[in-house]
């Protein structure tokens, strides 16, 4: 929590126009209605409260959602290579967003792009889950394979739209969205995702013991009094909606949902009661720093945060796999 607070302060202070930490803290305290220790100018207040803070908060919320969803899904699938996008959420959101940009809905208002991304995510997950429920065995391997199929299908549709895109400008905005970015995020975006993500986190945390018991296998979980056939779809839908909320405002950001819970597990062990909150915090901190790096590294060019996440995340992931005595297996 302390690390998260420091991260928020640092990420609000650092930027093309640097603002001293002391003043940043003063602005942040003033924004939350607490007494301030030092004065600040109106310009500093505008930069922090109107431009940087919402971006930082969107990054933190999205990171938390991806981290905690990744942790929960890796447990649900009993597989450390799963990330929240595997059941079609990310590609569904991507298709929703691409449609909004392609057909020009995004010009109708600031809410249409995130909402159609979210609708795409929800739709993709619902389709996957309802197809899966029809399968005789309803095994997690089946679900994973269905998700891979769905992802391939939706990517193909996205590529189809890209290929037939009318203008250079449109193409550029689609590609940028697909790379994941947090620039120009406003308080609207914060409002849009804060409730589903924070509430979702709290609900997920309450299922830590169930997820632990489910790691021993479905039968053991059932014998411990867990209604696996009800809890698992519920948790899948919950994590998907949280991921969908995150992706709706940030675009596709890979590796956070995969690397963060994996790295956290090396420290906390497999116990979801600690793993899930730690993954949420870790995801938030990781994404805020990655976003900061994306703003600062190649000034004045801004690199998309999704690219930075993969740049940092991929080598880190490989290093983790190599150094872990279990060869990266959740086992």
């Amino acid at each position: 929590m302390v690390a998260l607070a420091l991260t928020v302060v640092a990420a609000s202070a650092i930027g093309p126009i640097g603002i001293p930490f002391r003043k940043t803290i003063a602005v942040l305290l003033a924004e939350t209605g607490l007494p301030t220790l030092s004065s600040f100018s109106e310009r500093e207040q505008t930069i922090i409260a109107e431009m940087r803070l919402p971006r930082v908060l969107v990054g933190g919320l999205a990171g938390a959602a991806l981290g905690v969803s990744g942790g929960a899904m890796q447990g649900l699938f009993r597989n450390p290579l799963v990330e929240p996008g595997y059941v079609g959420v990310s590609s569904g959101a991507a298709l929703g967003a691409v449609c909004a940009l392609y057909f020009g809905w995004s010009l109708l208002g600031p809410w249409t792009l995130p909402l159609s991304a979210f609708a795409g995510a929800a739709l993709a997950v619902m389709i996957i889950l309802s197809v899966w429920q029809r399968h005789r065995h309803k095994s997690m391997a089946t679900l994973l394979l269905l998700g891979i199929g769905m992802n391939a299908l939706l990517s193909a549709v996205i590529n189809l739209l890209l290929a037939s895109s009318g203008s250079e400008q449109e193409l550029r905005s689609i590609v940028f969205w697909l790379q994941g970015g947090l620039e120009a995020r406003t308080w609207h975006h914060v409002q849009l995702i804060a409730l589903p993500i924070l509430a979702g986190c709290l609900v997920l945390f309450a299922f830590g013991r169930d997820l632990n018991a489910m790691l021993l296998g479905d039968e053991q979980a059932a014998n411990a009094g867990i209604n696996v056939n009800r809890i698992r779809p519920f948790l899948l839908i919950l994590t998907s909606l949280m991921t969908g909320s995150a992706v709706a405002v940030s675009g596709i950001i890979g590796f956070v949902g995969l690397v963060v819970p994996h790295a956290v597990r090396l420290v906390t062990g497999p116990d979801h009661r600690f793993l899930l909150p730690a993954s949420a915090l870790g995801g938030a901190i990781f994404l805020i720093w990655a976003d900061l790096a994306s703003r600062m590294l190649m000034q004045p060019v801004t690199v998309q945060v999704g690219v930075i996440c993969a740049l940092i995340g991929a080598p880190l992931f490989m290093a983790l796999i190599m150094s872990s005595r279990r060869g990266g297996a959740l086992k």
Binding site: A206, N212, L215, E219, Q220, A222, A224, G225, I226, L330
Partner: protein, 278 residues
């Protein structure tokens, strides 16, 4: 009162009948041994009793009420199941594994209660693994892991405990440890049903035996009633000699030899297609 009551229970798995019209009861405090050749339906019977496999016909009652009328959580407070394969892939400490047995007694939104911790500690002491409480379950030997899962089942404070071949992978010391523990618990009122392969240990520790063959009950009663040469020949296709053990006085079975080739072929579970090919 009967803790478990099977009446006319049949189970069909993937189109194949696995259990056929089973009738038996288990009274409070009874230790029942489930014996029979591989593939005779012992595991399926236990899993049907635990509610994991649904029965296709007949009715199962647990503590007087139909199994189907219970919620998962309610049944988990009455009944615990120790699986045969207890390999764990996750390095939870033994104490956490045992605490998982408390799950049906705990509230989702409350802190772990003192009585839950106490039940888990007591279960570990009973199973003789209190000294292993902080060790990762992945670093236990097979016998120790088995005891951890028995401790988990005990922490569940059930009235009925089902064990699937609890001693098959254990050395003789651990075998005696498990069976003596189960015997003691049964004497204190726990009802136990355990699938066992060792007929001598089954005869020595169980009150009753159920002999299964191809999903049917071939014999049921005291070890003396069930372990007869004709029944064992029919079930296993093996000629046996019976005597009283000179040290323990319990019934002892000696496998003398397989019966002639064609009758032992009866033991092999031939699929209908395989039959028509011959």
């Amino acid at each position: 009162m009967n803790m478990l009551d099977f009446s006319g229970v049949s189970v069909i798995l993937q189109g194949q009948p696995v259990l056929k019209n089973l009738n038996f009861t288990a009274a409070k405090g009874q230790f029942i041994g489930l014996i029979g050749p591989n593939g005779s339906g012992k595991s399926t019977l236990l899993r049907t009793a635990s509610g994991w496999i649904p029965c296709s016909k007949g009715q199962i009652r647990v503590a007087g009420k139909p199994l189907r009328s219970y919620k998962r959580r309610e049944i988990a407070r009455l009944l615990s199941f120790v699986p045969q394969d207890t390999l764990v892939d996750f390095d939870f400490p033994v104490r956490d594994i045992v605490m998982m047995g408390r799950h049906p007694h705990m509230s989702r939104f409350k802190e772990v209660a003192h009585e839950d911790r106490l039940a888990a500690e007591q279960a570990m002491v009973l199973a003789g693994i209190a000294h292993l409480a902080d060790r990762a379950v992945t670093r236990l030997s097979g016998g120790q892991r088995q005891m951890a899962f028995i401790a988990k089942a005990l922490a569940q404070t059930p009235q009925l405990m089902l064990l699937d071949e609890p001693i098959s992978a254990l050395d003789i010391r651990h075998q005696l440890h498990v069976l003596e523990l189960v015997r003691r618990l049964a004497d204190d009122g726990l009802t136990v049903i355990a699938a066992l392969h060792d007929l001598n240990l089954a005869a020595r520790y169980c009150d009753q035996l159920i002999l299964l063959r191809q999903g049917q009950i071939l014999g049921r009663g005291t070890p003396e009633e069930v372990l007869t040469p004709p029944k064992l020949l029919e079930a296993y296709g093996v000629h046996v000699g019976l005597r009283r053990d000179p040290w323990l006085g319990s019934l002892t079975v000696t496998a003398i030899g397989k019966s002639s080739a064609d009758s032992s072929a009866d033991q092999v579970d031939l699929k209908p297609t395989a039959v028509s090919m011959t």
